[in-house]
Amino acid sequence: MAGDLIADYLVRLGTGLQISPAAAHVLAEIEDGLRCAAEDHVRRGTAPDRAAELAVAEFGDPEALAAEFVPLLGAAEAHRDGVALLATGPVIGVLWLTSAVLAWPAAPVPVGAGIVAVGLVLVTTVPRISYGVAATGRLGRRLRATPASAIGAVAAAARTAVALDVALVLLALPGLVLIGRSPLPTTLAAVAALLSLARLVTAARATRRLNRFRALLT
């Protein structure tokens, strides 16, 4: 009975947190707190069943507690996703850029236009994602950003990364393979395309999760 009450509480809390992969950590921490509280009551002479009842009551409504955790978990996830995008962006970008520069003499106009287009996308996306990472991290208090807006900034940047990776893989890779005179630009483009595909998948997943967080917060 005592265990059931605590287990029921954790199930209700878990339902509110199922959006986050980090929910298990929160549940483990709250379970420890609930069991500590129940054990405390038992040490003071309360029967175990009553002790569990008191512990659950002291922790408050599980749905309300889940609602308090959602923006925190969303911000933590947005921060991780944003940092990953910022870290992988330069590596993938340098690979694409190097292969494009090597292929430039063969088709200067389309390659040049591609570089300018990607540059314009980066100029708008990098500040947005930097803001999202800062606002969901240690600078969050100073920036006074709402969790929804900070998560939204990272989600938008992840969406842009998906679109950019799709465009690069679909348009640039065949072009570079066709116009590449030496194997070097083709090899670099192939490696860049593989990395872009990997990022595309993770960024698409991140976009979906972050949009769900955002929907819960707005």
Binding site: A28, C36, E68
Partner: protein, 111 residues
């Protein structure tokens, strides 16, 4: 005392409790209650999100360990947390001194 009354002060008090040494969530809650002689007997659930918020802000750091047959998260003050606590203490001293001066002042003689 209700949680709303503590709004704005809870973070500083949590930092103060953890400044004494690493604590897990329930120990922090109990210390907050006993340290305030029962005045701050908050819904225990409300403290955990606050601890996570302080961790995200880089003021606390949390580590997992194995407690009595279960996982346990222990919090510790970071260097930034110690600096923030110093600032919060100074601000509170100034604020409480000013409020006390006004509330406890003898009425001015009528003119």
């Amino acid at each position: 005392m209700r949680a709303e009354a503590l709004k704005g002060h809870l973070d500083a008090m949590l930092l103060a409790v953890v400044s004494a040494g690493p604590r897990h969530g329930y120990a922090i809650i109990e210390e907050l209650r006993t340290g305030s002689r029962g005045t701050f007997d908050l819904p225990k659930g409300t403290v955990y999100p606050a601890l996570h918020r302080l961790e995200q802000a880089g003021l606390l750091t949390g580590t997992w360990s194995t407690g009595p047959g279960r996982r346990r998260r222990t919090y510790q003050l970071t260097a930034a947390g110690r600096r923030r606590l110093g600032t919060e203490r100074a601000t509170w001293q100034q604020f409480s001194t000013a409020v006390s001066a006004v509330l406890e002042a003898k009425p001015w003689p009528a003119t």
